[in-house]
Symmetry: C2
Subunit: 300 residues, 2 copies
């Protein structure tokens, strides 16, 4: 194929790689092992793209774990182990390095994940790759492809928060580190417990995490499930109305987007907090989803 | 702790991380899962440190798999699955990207490893992280710590080859891509089959791979096993004598260094090709191992 990576864009390249290695296009790799299904997520974060200058080393470590746990959560898995490959500049302070480890440790411990090893490398740009291994019973893996016409579309938490946090950091010199938008951006909370309860309920037909904006994630579910979606924009949960545009297009929220069989929705609402924002319709009959979301290869 | 990462050096930092997360300092992470022991290796390679300018995208892909398989081989494991996190510049050619995938595929297929997923990211400097998961029966995992006084020290293949290859690339404008030294550098062959046979034999007491030079690897085994080593330098296998200095200090050979109970050596020689280069002695009584090897944080 001719051209440059940025011409193909992130989604095009993921398609290319998935078809090359005959992998499913999912939030995690899935592989049968012994009597169990392993779910494996590997995500690379780096300074220029993923860490605003205000990010502390603790928050870098926390985020590295959180983004990988979010992928496991998005398939309803239980994360167990993690290995890390950490690329750091030689003039990085040892004290800051220890802070980074403590951020990794905090998020891993919070979700019962054991850090079991990894690699250290000298790298001009801070570059961190985490790989998390989780398990799931086959019957409980929730893929992107199971949404059916009539299913209700739901999300956990509030959307656009991380995008709002980024705007705050860019515009305000004195920002409040405890502001929920800033926290959402710099210390995202993966929805591990929610993902497990959703998959365990048996009522969830498809799921993914919203890491690159609602638009991109809806488009991923729509393509995999061969359906369309009608979204009622006024239902999209946000901290404040001006975050609505960011909810569609900004990355970093790490909430779960999923579809539910309508008759199970009341039952599910008793065990997990979420918001219904629309429903699945015939393929082609849904909202036009403009590709507004975050594309690693097309930014800037 | 005060200071910078480069002050602590790679080995010091590995110690810090291992003690922080209570991991063993081994070639792979080891974790019990179901009835099996999983061995997990995660290695980051990047352009400036790991890929001489003459490296083709195919060779980058090949190397990414090979260095991780070498870690699994070093513990006598059988590699099964791989996930990759690939960070590439937006102006990387799609054609070159496909070549890179074909290099990954070639090395993975050669050793029966299935590529099951991963992450794509835009990164100014080509940065590739591979994570390989393998298995081993507990009784067959070979750690760094089992060498006993009297054991014979052995290596597979020839040493200093990758270092010699690098010297060729740096000094000769028209180098031969098929030169065995250049091949050793740019398309290293992990010793997966040898590692499996060595661990299966039950005669190997400790093992590691020689990724940062013989000096560093001997020091790793000596420290973990609390022994010293007497090495007969004239026995170190090299393609030609001028490579001997590089055998001690240059990285990139990916051969196996291991110790064997003396009475089992004949039996072992019938199933694996290797060279005896010395023996294990009391801690403190061995050769002084000057820390000549490659240190990612102290180079340059």
């Amino acid at each position: 194929m001719n051209g440059l990576l940025r011409d193909a864009g992130e989604r095009g390249l993921i398609e290319l790689v998935s078809s090359y290695f005959e992998c499913e296009e999912e939030d995690c790799a899935i592989v049968k092992f012994g009597g169990e299904y392993l779910l494996i997520s590997s995500d690379m974060l780096h300074q220029k793209t993923d860490f605003p200058p205000q990010t502390t080393p603790y928050q870098m470590g926390w985020s590295l774990v959180a983004v990988n746990l979010s992928d496991i959560a998005a398939m309803g898995g239980k994360p167990l182990f993690m290995v890390n490959a950490l690329g750091l500049p030689g003039d990085f302070k040892i004290e800051a390095f220890e802070e980074l480890l403590s951020g990794i440790n905090a998020c891993a411990s919070r979700f019962g994940v054991r850090v079991i090893g990894g690699d250290l490398d000298s790298h001009e740009e801070i570059t961190l790759t985490g790989t998390v291994i989780g398990i799931s019973n086959e019957g409980q893996i929730v893929r992107r492809s199971g949404a059916r016409v009539g299913d209700l579309v739901c999300v956990t938490g509030n959307l656009g928060s991380a995008g709002g946090g980024l705007r705050l950091l860019e515009n305000e010199k004195d920002f409040d580190r405890l502001n929920p938008l800033v926290k959402a951006l710099l210390e995202p909370m993966p929805r591990v417990e929610e993902g497990l309860m959703l998959s365990g309920s048996g009522s969830v037909t498809s799921m993914t995490d919203i890491s690159d904006g609602l638009s991109v994630s809806l488009a991923d579910l729509a393509r995999a499930s061969r359906v369309g979606f009608k979204i009622e924009e006024e239902r999209i949960p946000v901290y404040s109305d001006e975050l609505l545009a960011l909810a569609w297009s900004a990355g970093g929220d790490y909430e779960l987007l999923f579809t539910v069989v309508p008759e199970k929705i009341d039952e599910l609402e008793r065990i997990v907090d979420f918001t219904v924002i629309g429903s699945a319709v015939e393929e082609g009959a849904g909202d036009k989803l403009s590709p507004l979301g975050y594309d690693h290869f097309r930014r800037g």
